[in-house]
């Protein structure tokens, strides 16, 4: 089979049929789409397919190599899990948006040139925002708008960079770009917004917790990982990324500790995990790149699983605020169990997926002698266990009993969570299967006695710290609140500036108007007064004074005559 047909079209055009299919057939069709696309990916050979000549440029719709296939597989797996998870939802718009979104992310991964990449890039933005708006809550409209502005801004940077890149190199091919010129910088910013670089990150924490319970599961899989894929393709070995990634891994965990909305806690921990991947890409060695993309693969599953468990809690308990939850393990034992598997995976417990992928990045950093970055990443590893591994299950399912009694999650949600949990453990126990898919040959053994012991010590003592802080009452309680982040600058500061600027303008205008009004009245009043009986124009003049003035003028005339 040749690979000329773009795999993205299976999902995108397949999704267009969904509204016209009745009940069961629709569900079957939605489940079939990712499976068909997956079978197609398995059947086509490596190489460049689907090449189109356009305006003297060759556009490559299907570049099939190990890197694009890895992301293709995981995107389809994520699409399938998300569809299963959302199967009970009646809102057709969400199903269509979700599958078009997954399809466009898939298309972007297989794009061999920057123009095709850009088109799919924009389609992911436009389709994914529908999942935020579909919540139809009081904040959805505004949040979605902020989200899509960021996403389209990312596209604008990509387009501007791509055009400059074309002018500089004469080619639109999407391969290694690097940071050597303005084009590279603009493209990096475009990719950076999607990957949630510091100060470009807040769309993630803003929008993901505001989407529908099922929509967030879709969202968590594609946009940021597409950014990671694009960075791995275009900017491997760019040293600046090591520092950007280190910062990303560290700062969100502070926010995660004090955040009350548990889905927002997960968004912060996602930012932290992306940091690990960005560090790996920045290091750029074969081990580091393998680690970064393997971690992206594992993260899509375990972060999806965590978002699924929190989505189920939101659906059943009606809230996702840590301050209002607790004791839910009594009502939702299966969800609690799956959540713990996801938590163990993100925390990189031995035998869970995060352990076999994150450790590659840590080792790569150590091999390059990056002591400081390694220590920060180790801190972030302990921190992620602390907030995602313990805080999420603890405040939702254990802790203080909130008294909430609800039904267990719907069966389709449990099935999706069970598959994701099985994959988390499967990858952790048999890492060889994932390692075989990685872009470079893997010569790395995760399970050494030293490594297992060290990681277990790190995690158990982090747990001990949590328990001690909890029992001594030092641990900060969950409070109904929002925490200021970089979105403050545009949601409050810029908005406040615009408001006060408008007010100042209005005040100035009012001041001028008032002055003019007073003056106008005074002049009008003066004119009117002159026409009144006592006014200048209405006064009667004595004849004598008239004769006097005539005489004065004649005398003046005489004086000038003589002087002249």
């Amino acid at each position: 089979m040749t690979g000329n047909f773009p795999v993205a079209f299976v999902l995108i055009f397949g999704a267009a049929l969904i509204p016209f299919l009745p009940g069961l057939l629709r569900k079957a069709w939605m489940l079939a789409l990712p499976v068909i696309a997956f079978a197609y990916l398995l059947a086509i050979p490596h190489g460049l397919h689907g090449q189109v000549e356009l305006l003297g440029q060759t556009l490559t719709l299907m570049r099939v190599d190990k890197l694009s296939l890895l992301f293709g597989y995981i995107f389809l797996l994520a699409a399938l899990l998300s569809v299963i998870y959302a199967l009970h939802v009646d809102d057709t718009m969400q199903h269509v948006a979700g599958l078009v979104y997954a399809g466009s992310a898939l298309g972007a991964v297989f794009a061999g040139d920057l123009m095709t990449l850009f088109l799919y890039w924009e389609l992911t933005a436009v389709s994914s925002v529908l999942l935020v708006w579909a919540r139809r809550g009081e904040h959805s409209a505004a949040t979605g708008m902020r989200y899509v502005i960021w996403q389209l801004l990312s596209g604008m940077f990509l387009l501007a960079g791509a055009l400059l890149h074309w002018r500089a190199t004469g080619s639109l091919e999407f391969s290694h770009i690097g940071l050597s010129n303005t084009a590279g910088l603009l493209i990096l910013i475009g990719f950076g917004i999607k990957s949630a670089f510091p100060f470009m990150h807040n769309w993630l924490m803003d929008a993901y917790p505001e989407a529908t319970p099922t929509g967030t599961v879709f969202l968590s899989a594609f946009t940021t990982k597409l950014g990671i894929y694009a960075l791995a393709r275009g900017f491997a070995g760019t040293e600046e990324l090591v520092w950007i990634g280190t910062l990303m891994a560290a700062f969100p965990i502070f926010y995660a500790v004090i955040e009350n909305d548990l889905r927002r806690v997960l968004a912060y921990s996602m930012n932290n995990q992306l940091g690990f991947m960005v560090v790996g890409i920045g290091i750029g060695t074969e081990l580091a790149i393998n680690g970064a993309v393997a971690h992206a693969f594992a993260d899509i599953i375990f972060k999806g699983l965590l978002f699924m468990s929190m989505g189920a809690v939101l659906l059943r308990a009606g809230t996702i605020k840590g301050s209002e939850l607790g004791g839910l393990y009594k009502s939702m034992p299966w969800t609690a169990g799956f959540c713990i598997v996801g938590a163990a995976s993100i925390s990189a417990f031995p035998l869970f997926s995060g352990f076999v992928t994150k450790s590659m990045i840590m080792s790569a950093a150590a091999l390059e002698g990056m002591t400081f970055n390694w220590l920060v990443l180790l801190f972030a590893s302990a921190g992620v266990f602390h907030h995602a591994g313990i805080k999420i299950p603890y405040f939702a399912f254990f802790g203080h009993d909130s008294g909430i009694r609800c039904a267990e999650a719907p069966r389709n949600m449990l099935v999706a969570m069970a598959i994701a949990a099985a994959l988390c453990i499967g990858i952790g126990v048999f890492p060889g299967a994932l390692y075989a898919l990685l872009p470079y040959a893997v010569d790395y053994v995760p399970y050494t006695a030293s490594h297992v012991v060290a990681q277990t010590q790190l995690l158990f003592f982090s747990a001990l710290a949590f328990a001690v802080l909890m029992r001594t009452g030092i641990y900060p309680p969950e409070l109904r609140s929002v925490n200021l982040d970089s979105d403050w600058f545009y949601r409050k500061a810029a908005f406040g500036f615009a408001t006060s600027f408008r007010e100042a303008l209005a005040a100035t205008r009012a001041g001028f108007t008032e002055i003019l009004e007073v003056r106008r009245l005074a002049i009008a009043d003066f004119l009117v007064r002159q026409r009144r009986p006592e006014g200048m124009l209405m006064r009667s003049w004595p004849t004598g004074s008239m004769a006097l003035w005539v005489m004065v003028m004649l005398l003046a005339n005489l004086v000038f005559y003589y002087l002249g």
């Binding site: 990681q455 010590q457 995690l459 747990a463 641990y475 925490n483």
Partner: protein, 85 residues
């Protein structure tokens, strides 16, 4: 809020059992550190081979994280409707 009266009693509802878990955690941590006495860990950095390095790092990193985050609340925390006003 108190749990509904008809609710079934769970093992974790008893504070004594929670205390047992807490003690258990101390014991597990103690045993994990004891491994360092027998196992010479191969580490990429020399300083990481020090006895109990990972345990101490994990513990103090988390305590520092929580204390710092608690202080951050003073600067960052606002009412829930802060952006709606």
């Amino acid at each position: 809020m108190t749990p509904p009266a008809d609710s079934k009693k769970y093992w974790l509802d008893d504070p004594l059992n929670v205390s047992k878990l807490f003690k258990g955690l101390w014991i597990v941590c103690g045993l994990l550190i004891a491994i360092d006495l027998f196992l010479h860990r191969h580490e990429d950095f020399e300083f990481a081979t020090v006895f109990g390095f990972h345990g101490a790092y994990g513990f103090f990193a988390c305590v520092a994280l929580v204390l710092a985050a608690k202080q951050l609340r003073r600067i960052l925390m606002r009412d829930e409707d802060y952006y709606d006003r």
